[in-house]
Symmetry: C2
Subunit: 295 residues, 2 copies
Amino acid sequence: MGIDAPIGVFDSGVGGLTVAREIMRQLPEERMVYFGDTARLPYGTKSKDTVVRFSRQIVRFLKTKDVKAIVIACNTATAYGLEEIKRELEIPVIGVIDAAARVAGAVTRNGRVGVVGTTGTIESGMYEKALKKYNKEAQVYGKACPLLVSLVEEGWLHDMITEEVVSRYLKDLEYKSIDTLILGCTHYPLLRSTFSKVAGEDVTLVNPAYEVAMELGELLDKKGLSCGKGVAKEKKKYEFFVSDAAEKFCNFANSILPYDIERVKQINIEAFEAEETESLFVTAGMAGQAVSKRR
Amino acid sequence: MGIDAPIGVFDSGVGGLTVAREIMRQLPEERMVYFGDTARLPYGTKSKDTVVRFSRQIVRFLKTKDVKAIVIACNTATAYGLEEIKRELEIPVIGVIDAAARVAGAVTRNGRVGVVGTTGTIESGMYEKALKKYNKEAQVYGKACPLLVSLVEEGWLHDMITEEVVSRYLKDLEYKSIDTLILGCTHYPLLRSTFSKVAGEDVTLVNPAYEVAMELGELLDKKGLSCGKGVAKEKKKYEFFVSDAAEKFCNFANSILPYDIERVKQINIEAFEAEETESLFVTAGMAGQAVSKRR
């Protein structure tokens, strides 16, 4: 595997595109294979066992694309599966939690940090655990916000109803006098301005998508895996795969990525369950179901 | 299979419990096996192919419980899968759409009927198709309401925010002067009072959960499959299965069912994939997706 191998990025659906977007911006030379598990989203309300099983299937798929590193661009999958997947793979694997926790631990002045995310992410307590590594004194206050993903996917990004929902969710954290707030779900950076307005200017927002792209760049440099300028430019640069509804994914992606994607392939991710599926899949070829965006 | 065999009821998650509740009320002698696909919910945003594949796996599971009839207690799965599943089974199969459409077609005075539901249900156009069977003159106006399931599952049933969201969704239908509104998602009966308040007293609400339980009773009578009084009372009456997060399901169920359920079993529903998937998929021209995990 050369340095021009792609980076594998996965999420339960479209949320991880905020991470993909940061990687495109910060590491413009790198190739990327993105997988969104749109047949089984959301992960945030599901159990650890189920999320880990789904994540393993996806990792098996990404390995067939010869990725040089994997970014778990989903807070729930990071919270539940990062450690196990790391242990099972020989290539670097990073999640969205650690980098954000490090930054939050460094920027907080009063040591009171809030975290908003899905039920799964908040219940896992992973942000708290990660923050304590970097700032032993930090007090961490989590708040699950189950409605926000639906509001983002409905497209109500700058909307009175969304603002009211965010206000209600942040009420608990206000009482804790937090001065730093981690947007602990990959959809939430799309509500950044609403969070900023509701939380007020005294609260510093931390965006894990931005931080994990930074960390990825440093990690690739350290491991000698960074793509040199121009190395990948001849090859197909970005590939997108989903487990369902490729066209809908495509539309959402084109509303948030810096350029329009042309093609999203649909695959049957459940087929990556058993050990022997890898060879079966290779034999079956990678025809996939191609859905081109109509222009 | 005797008349004391259970009725199989399935849904993508907890929504179908509004149907289960009606069956318990209207057909108190009947036994029931309920399956909620909590690992892969929601179905409303997923494609037809995926929802049909999930439904087939569930039907295979229900058949292992020797059910005498199947109720698809999910509007999306009914819209996408009822006809195909009916064709493949020898036992009676009914969905939530037809009975509600028949009643709506009968009660409308001005022939203008609104339908609210998930994106999948509305885009399928199935309510319109069913209504036209019973009332050729009817004009049907659909409105997808993707946020409402999340609001119900958040427990914000009698809430200002929910009322505002419902108002926004019903705005389009108001302009159409509907006099009848079908609550075309199994979660929505739990928002019945909000719908009633927002839509006003001139609009008749139709609850498919209630209507399908009525239809089921008639169908069982007609086929000689109704359970006699006391026949099933010695046996375990209601069984609940889910694909994930049994405890959370149990809590939700106990908040809406007329009595507390004691036990919910979690199963791996993906293991009920058809043996012949590969050939089916290849024939359908989708090579590359066609890898069955069990041989």
